[in-house]
Amino acid sequence: MRYIEPHGHMVSRVTDDYEAMVLAGCRAVCEPAFWAGYDRSGPEGFYDYFCQLTDYEPKRAAKFGLPHFTWLCINPKESEDTKLAEEVIALIPQFLDRPSVLGIGEIGLNKNTRNELKILEQHIDLAARHDQLILVHTPHLEDKHKGTRLILDALKADARIQPGRVIIDHVEEHTIQMVLDAGFWAGITLYPESKTTPARAIDMYEVYGGQRVWLNSACDWGRSDPLAVPKTAIEMRRRGHADETIDQLVFQNPIRFLGQNPRFTVR
């Protein structure tokens, strides 16, 4: 088996996870910028984090022969403070030339507030001005449906944004249709409690099709499983899917999306 982990917060995982992922067939890992579990005290904290994502973490992954890529932004959980968010957004362009940066992400909404939306629009503008791919985080649980609608509206309102260059992550049964109908890519996140189980992820793949879909573990410091993608591939086999179909979903699809950035050369 071979697969790509397109969404993993490796800074909060132990080195053994890298080894286990490579043993399971992982050929590349991509790490969006996210919330640390606490609010950073100022823009300097983000500067250091972006250095960690673009410099230290690729070296840690390289020890296992695993290519490591990243996405940069201030996450929606911290964008309620618009002054801080604007300072952080101003820091990002100087990092965009670094060789492992794939785009702007994971941007989006958390509690669907006006301030979060304002900062989302600024991120969309940043991505458009620098011709970057976009990775979007959709809100949790009861806030997901409303947030996904607001996010799609904000993206559609900017004529420079091409839906095929944007992935809307953490879709579930009530949001996947509107994402795919609008021409965007959809990410299905496999979590032990919230988001989806392997069985539900495969249901969505079977019902809605897998042309513009990827699977990810979004493993971080919470309850999550860095091997969720290969475990779902095993579940797909139990469901009677052919090896080629599985390879399409867990390996070739992420390459089709991420390969729109020439820096992503994994094949």
């Binding site: 509690k111 507030t113 006006r114 009861e142 997901k144 449906h145 409303k146 009530h174």
Partner: protein, 90 residues
């Protein structure tokens, strides 16, 4: 896959989750004090299982969702609890 094959794959798992839900409701009955909006939301969502169409997962998720459309003025906190409580805050 045939229904027979799907049962072979998933029946025991679904059975176990069904009993967990039953035990959870029993546990709620034995608990003391007033429950909050989450229990009402849970019971309302349970009713979605009786729908005939194969969109039960979507219906349950929608039933637990905030269906308002306007962004709110201020975040009440960072977290989500899994069920929506109607408030007057705008």
């Amino acid at each position: 896959m045939t229904r027979q094959q799907l049962l072979d794959l998933y029946f025991m798992d679904a059975r176990s989750k069904l009993i967990d839900i039953a035990a959870f409701l029993d546990r709620m009955d034995r608990g003391e004090g007033e429950p909050d909006f989450r229990l009402d939301a849970f019971r309302k969502a349970l009713a979605e299982l009786h729908r005939g169409e194969p969109e039960r997962a979507k219906s349950v998720l929608m039933s637990l969702s905030d269906l308002t459309v306007e962004p709110i003025a201020k975040a009440p906190g960072k977290g989500a609890v899994g069920a929506w409580k109607m408030t007057n805050e705008k």
